[in-house]
């Protein structure tokens, strides 16, 4: 018994597991998405230092300058300039900052509310579960954009309000998924045994249930990032986003939309940024989900 340490001397691993392991090792780290996301985060955090120009002040003499690689382009404006002579690249970089801020605050708010609601609904069940899940259903039945527009009309347009609205949009998904997970976890024998050992309900929730949902939470959060960015961009595009002149990607797309024929880059560059970040986030989220899925994780 003395040298029997577990993993190495554990019973032989069944065949299907071995096959899954091999397949598993073939999976690759999604390098390009990770690269894109790193650039996104660095731009967001360091916009002040990275951006070559002030994003809000334009040079009236250099309006609609095409991107550097096109005829008439200039290396001064790598991605061109817009109709007010502002550097598109700098605006995209500062747009990343807005998106990043919105994503972080929204997910923190929506995540906390959603996780708490999911924990309570799943663990206690009964009327609490009924009430919370009905609210979730109702929320999911109302189109988010419509709700957002109404709320913005009523409450005004500010960063805080936008973020609260977006949090309202994302929490139900957290609540629903976490609840499902908790329903499973609470039937585990170790939860019953914790009760037998005298653990209080908060202790059980924090020590035994919450750690079990962390993976789900991380996966959910990564998948929500794309949704939040898209929503925020849509709101900005509709003119209901973070108020101008702060350069949000959505409002930049909206600004350039009438000038597509003359200066297509004004809309296209921020559009591409949205696409790249959302796509990368989803690819990364998919990979993370496989990576963190407990059933697959046990194999590694």
């Amino acid at each position: 018994m003395a040298e029997a340490t577990g993993r190495l001397t554990a019973a032989p691993i069944p065949v299907p597991v071995r096959i899954a392991r091999r397949a598993w090792r073939l999976r690759r780290l999604p390098l390009i998405p990770i690269f894109v996301l790193i650039i996104f985060v660095i731009s967001g955090l360091g916009a002040n230092w990275i951006a070559p120009h002030n994003p809000e002040r334009g040079d009236i003499r250099a309006r609609n300058v095409p991107p550097a690689w096109m005829e008439g382009g200039s290396t001064k404006y790598l991605l061109g300039s817009d109709h007010l002579g502002r550097d598109v690249l700098s605006r995209v970089i500062f747009g990343a900052r807005i998106s990043l801020a919105v994503v972080v605050v929204t997910l923190a708010l929506g995540g906390i509310v959603g996780v708490s609601a999911g924990l309570v609904a799943g663990f206690y069940g009964g009327w609490r579960d009924e009430v919370i899940m009905r609210i979730v259903d109702i929320k999911l039945a109302i189109p988010t954009i419509l709700l957002a527009l109404v709320l913005i009309l009523a409450l005004g347009q500010s960063f805080l309000i936008i973020v609260v609205i977006l949090a309202i949009a994302v929490w139900p998904r957290f609540a629903r998924n976490i609840r499902g997970e908790v329903l499973q976890l609470k039937t585990m024998d170790y939860v019953a045994l914790a009760k037998v050992a005298g653990a209080s309900t908060p202790r059980i929730l924090i020590m035994h249930i919450l750690p079990g949902v962390v993976n789900t939470l991380i996966i959910l959060a990564t998948l929500e990032v794309g949704i939040v960015i898209l929503l925020e961009s849509t709101l900005s595009f509709l003119g209901a986003g973070v108020p101008p002149p702060t350069p949000a990607w959505g409002s930049m797309v909206a600004d350039g939309r009438d000038r597509l024929a003359v200066a297509w880059w004004i809309s296209t560059m921020p559009g591409l940024a949205i696409m790249a970040v959302v796509l990368s986030m989803n690819l990364f989220g998919d990979w993370l989900r496989d990576k963190l899925d407990p059933r697959l994780r046990q194999l590694e």
Partner: protein, 329 residues
């Protein structure tokens, strides 16, 4: 023993030096490594071993259901009625499966498809392997259901699995597996155990089926109780090899391999008080990391110098009784 049916001279199934290996990241895992046994009609063989000892891979190799890759049947012969199954094409093999060798899984809940009626599933099994007119397929299905004692078989044909009790479903699974009159039936026991009374019904059913069609029956189990009740012959597997083989009385009365002896001494008895069970220390070895020499050596109370160096050859203990252990040298 309890089995009254006559065993003929020519074995219906003969397995010779079967080796099934898997390629894994730790190297080659010899899940089945030189397994030989034979089985006559009307005879019951118990293949005993712990999880991971290779009994399920042996069974899958017989049916040729090994996933390739990473698995590979490296060598050996599987002679069914004199014909080497390893030389058949996949097409030919799929005809053999179910019609000549059938597999019965002891879990009636998962081996029936919930969306098809009982009759449908039995008829499907018959149609795959036998070329007979539609009308008689129905008759035939009815016939097998009656054979396994399903009351009111005619009305039951239209029932769905969820409308039947667990014991009834077990009978249906039994009916499907014998519907094409296989000559060899392999019963694989799941790790979760059935209730004792349900298990007794199931064992009785298998006995009846065997008697009726003079089947060769293989039990894959870790439970010596099933062996004692059902089997004529026993093969004990450890780490991919058969370490002891003999008639059921040989094994129970004179276990010759220390592993068999230890296993028998470690199960509590229903009929008498046992002061203290023998407990086999340590754990079954990992197949990718076998010690050189005898794989049981780290747990063996009789281990000798020689055991750790060289794998013991098979020694004949008695006419039909053999074991691979240096103590017999």
């Amino acid at each position: 023993m309890i089995n009254g049916t006559q065993a003929t001279d020519q074995p219906i199934l003969e397995v010779k030096d079967l080796r099934t290996y898997f390629q894994t990241r730790w190297g080659t895992v010899k899940a089945v490594d030189g397994v030989s046994f034979d089985l006559h009609r009307g005879e019951t063989l118990g293949l005993v071993g712990e999880s991971g000892s290779g009994k399920s891979v042996t069974m899958l190799s017989l049916m040729q259901l090994i996933p390739i890759p990473p698995g590979r049947i490296v060598s050996g012969e599987i002679l069914l009625d004199g014909e080497n199954l390893l030389e058949l094409t996949e097409d030919q093999m799929s005809k053999v499966r179910g019609s000549q060798i059938a597999l019965i899984i002891q879990d009636p809940m998962t081996s029936l498809n919930p969306v098809f009626s009982i009759g449908n599933q039995v008829m499907e099994a018959i149609k795959i392997h036998q070329d007979i007119p539609r009308k008689s397929v129905w008759e035939k299905a009815l016939d097998v259901l009656r054979k396994v004692n399903i009351p009111a078989a005619e009305t039951r044909m239209r029932d769905y699995p969820h409308q039947m009790s667990g014991g009834m479903r077990q009978r249906v699974v039994g009916a499907i597996s014998i519907s094409c009159q296989p000559s060899v039936l392999i019963a694989d026991e799941p790790t979760t155990s059935l209730d004792v009374t349900i298990q007794a019904q199931y064992l009785k059913l298998l006995k009846e089926l065997q008697r009726e069609s003079n089947l060769g029956l293989i039990f894959i189990t870790h439970d010596f109780g099933i062996v004692a009740k059902m089997c004529d012959k026993v093969a004990v597997m450890y780490a991919g090899k058969i370490v002891e083989q003999g008639t059921v009385r040989d094994i129970f009365n004179h276990p010759s391999h220390p592993y068999t002896e230890a296993l028998l001494a470690s199960v509590p008895k229903l009929e008498e008080d046992v002061d203290r069970l023998y407990s086999i220390e340590g754990q079954p070895p990992a197949l990718h990391d076998l010690p050189p020499g005898c794989p049981f050596a780290p747990r063996c109370p009789y281990v000798m110098e020689q055991c750790r160096e060289e794998y013991p050859p098979v020694f004949q203990v008695d006419e039909a009784h053999s074991a691979a252990c240096w103590r017999l040298a």
